[in-house]
Amino acid sequence: MPIDILMPALSPTMEEGTLSKWLKKEGDTVKSGDVIAEIETDKATMEVEAIDEGTIAKLLIPEGTENVKVNTPIAIIAADGEDATAAAAAPAPAKDVSGVHEAAKNGSGESGSAPAVAAAAPAAPVSVVVASDPAIPAGTEFVSMTVREALRDAMAEEMRRDGDVFIIGEEVAEYQGAYKITQGLLQEFSAERVIDTPITEHGFAGLATGAALAGLKPIVEFMTFNFAMQAIDQIINSAAKTLYMSGGQLGASIVFRGPNGAAARVGAQHSQDYTSWYSHIPGLKVVAPFTAADAKGLLKAAIRDPNPVIFLENEILYGHSFDVPKLDDFVLPIGKARIHKTGKDVTIVSFGIGMTYAIKAIDELAAQGIDVELIDLRTIRPMDIETVIESVKKTGRCVTVEEGWPQNSIGSDIASQLMEKAFDYLDAPVLKVTGKDVPMPYAANLEKLALPSVADVIAAVKAVTYR
């Protein structure tokens, strides 16, 4: 039975690619494991390996062809003993895709797969209102960059500025970062300041905290915050509490950063939002930016901050592009929310990737005549509740949006604070849109159900506006 070799997908979002090179020609015999072709996508060059044994009966797509759709037959293999010419002529009923070896140039990821999705995800079109930030001089140029690049630039700038700043974590140096956030830093700052660790989170989080107690300013990268659970004792018991316990003698100027929350289809142990966990802890600051500008300005602030700062990034946002002011030293204040869009009917409060649901919802709501004010908290602790209260005084209604679980969520805290501080202004109960109260399932349909949706946000807004 002749076998079709199909154009392989390298990530769930890859739809087409360039067949750049055939390494075998018609008539060549191949065996399982032979590299037969090279395929290029926007971010990677992959080698395609044969899985089946036989003879290349026909190359269906010439090399150099661009925009070859995934799952298009690209070659036909005649199995051993089959007549290759007959096989080339006959339609091949058995479908087969070859094994894939990606040589990713960008956005590779912990285990290499999901991040490719993140990098490929389209950038959300957003108009950013920089409400409470330091004045950006008129005429400032903006450059479009990804969150990934913004984070890298922030670290590079601070490392140039202060020799005490160093970065430590798994795969941060030679591999250029599991999610390529530290790309180029090893080359610029050497292995003394860009330090690959063994897989030993509790150990290196403690070591870095010790270095911070001695006055250095570590940036600790967790490959993801799921693995920071191994280290959480050092973060809380050592980094967060020492200033207090020492009566102010010793503190830790340290940043713990990395992707937080659900990625895509990586299951329960790799998909958890820790925002509310860290926001519970006195002695920590907790930052969770959405835009690239905020990522840059707040990471620079976090590195300079004399306290331990938990800096929660999001893998899916890494590939999103935003306008970032082109300034020599763009530092934003920690603890200030940003009014993303002003409005009069209802306040939505969100942060990080939660903003993507809110932004999509406000357009639909506008079409239905509901004018939303959208607040991006940016910093979770200390929380800028004043900005939220001022907004609610105007709108009388509030909906919170986050991917984390409902109990003791950021939304729960906002609801309780509004009840205490703005009860008289509320025209409806505060509603929370959160992830469902279940561990993250792997199956595609269940994962979708477990995450909050734009429809959830719209439904909540309609409920609080009695529409």
Binding site: E174, E201, R265, P441
Partner: protein, 359 residues
């Protein structure tokens, strides 16, 4: 070249002198010296080894293809190259009684314990009849029947869990042993050493199998480890260990039997460093720039675990090319059926979102 011909560095079997003689010298296993070359397999053993390893290889290749087709998502860590380790160890234990636990590179372990290829593949596609009803995925599958305890995504976590499984055996006073697999990278996690200490202190029947495939993602062993001879990692706790050529299934089985006998007899834990190699990237789209193509090619051509058995079967006249082709065809059939099943099985019902959270 780290795959040893036989034992490298440490002494082969635990020498009597390495442990208090009063405890160890009476045990036959304690002083047993490993032969320089592993014992030959019988025809039946070689044929079984060939089939089992080939099943894993073909299954993993198919999983890789299906990932390419967008049918499998997220993280998918293939076991290609390391097949002799699980198959050899499985030949040394009592399937269904002795427990097995590992990390996320787990498809091979599941197939080796006899878990159904269809159920594993359907879990990879996130479907209803996958081992976890689609809720676990590649890294999280389990089978009580086969005493396979997962399937864990947090590097190193399975080491303490496996130690706990062994604790339960001792508590119940049965003579089952626990195979606890982990990688060279995982071997640097703190809980590994906390576990070692308790296991030796309480003489728990656990075999720590360190699958040293020389890399943890992009980090080679020499860049992550002060002591790169993993068989010695238990020395300060008095846990015996040996380095094993994990590409030679005979060596694996033989060392496995020694370790199992040691544990069953109540002597406590045992460490086996399996020197092996993964041919593919860490996960599906790892650029693998941290090693040369030559290095990979050399392993494939000179040390392939399946090829070694194939050559033996042919050289000894125990099987003809035709016989092996027949086996290959049978295996492909099993794998293709699992792939068909995994593509046609429906997604889990939406109500499954809310089941199995608490009992």
């Amino acid at each position: 070249m780290a795959v040893a011909k036989s034992k490298v560095g440490s002494k082969s079997a635990p020498a009597a002198g390495r442990k208090p003689a009063a405890i160890k010298s009476a045990k036959p296993t304690a002083s047993a010296k490993a032969p320089a070359a592993p014992l030959e397999f019988s025809r039946e053993e070689d044929l079984a080894a060939y089939r089992e390893m080939l099943l894993i290889r073909r299954f993993e290749e198919k999983a890789g293809q299906m990932y390419g087709m967008g049918l499998i998502h997220g993280f998918c860590h293939l076991y290609i190259g390391q097949e002799a380790v699980v198959v050899g160890m499985q030949m040394a234990i009592r399937t269904g009684e002795d427990q097995v636990i590992t990390g996320y590179r787990d498809h091979g372990h599941m197939l080796a314990t006899g878990m159904d290829a269809k159920g594993v593949m359907a879990e990879l596609t996130g479907r209803r009849h996958g081992y976890s009803h689609g809720k676990g995925g590649s890294m999280h599958m389990f089978s009580i029947e086969k005493q396979f305890f997962g399937g864990h995504g947090i590097v190193g976590a399975q080491v303490s869990l496996g130690t706990g499984l062994a604790f339960a055996n001792r508590y119940r006073k049965n003579d089952n042993v626990t195979l606890t697999y982990f990688g060279d990278g995982a071997a640097n996690q703190g809980q590994v050493y906390e576990s070692f200490n308790m296991a030796e202190l309480w003489k728990l029947p656990v075999i720590y199998i360190i699958e040293n495939n020389r890399y943890a993602m992009g980090t080679s062993v020499s860049r992550s480890s002060a002591q790169t001879d993993f068989s010695k990692r238990g020395l300060s706790f008095n846990i015996p260990g040996e380095q094993v050529d994990g590409m030679d299934i005979r060596a694996v089985k033989e060392a496995g039997e020694r370790a199992v006998a040691w544990c069953r007899a109540g002597n406590g834990p045992y460490i086996l460093e399996m020197q092996t190699y993964r041919y593919r990237g860490h996960s599906m789209s790892d650029p693998a720039k941290y090693r040369s193509k030559d290095e990979v090619q050399k392993m494939r051509t000179e040390h392939d675990p399946i090829e070694q058995v194939r050559v033996r079967l042919l050289d000894k006249g125990w099987a003809s090319e035709e016989d092996l082709k027949k086996i290959d065809a049978d295996i492909r059939e099993i794998v293709n059926q699992s792939a068909d099943f995994a593509q046609n099985d429906p997604e889990p019902d939406a109500s499954e979102l809310w089941t199995d959270i608490v009992k």
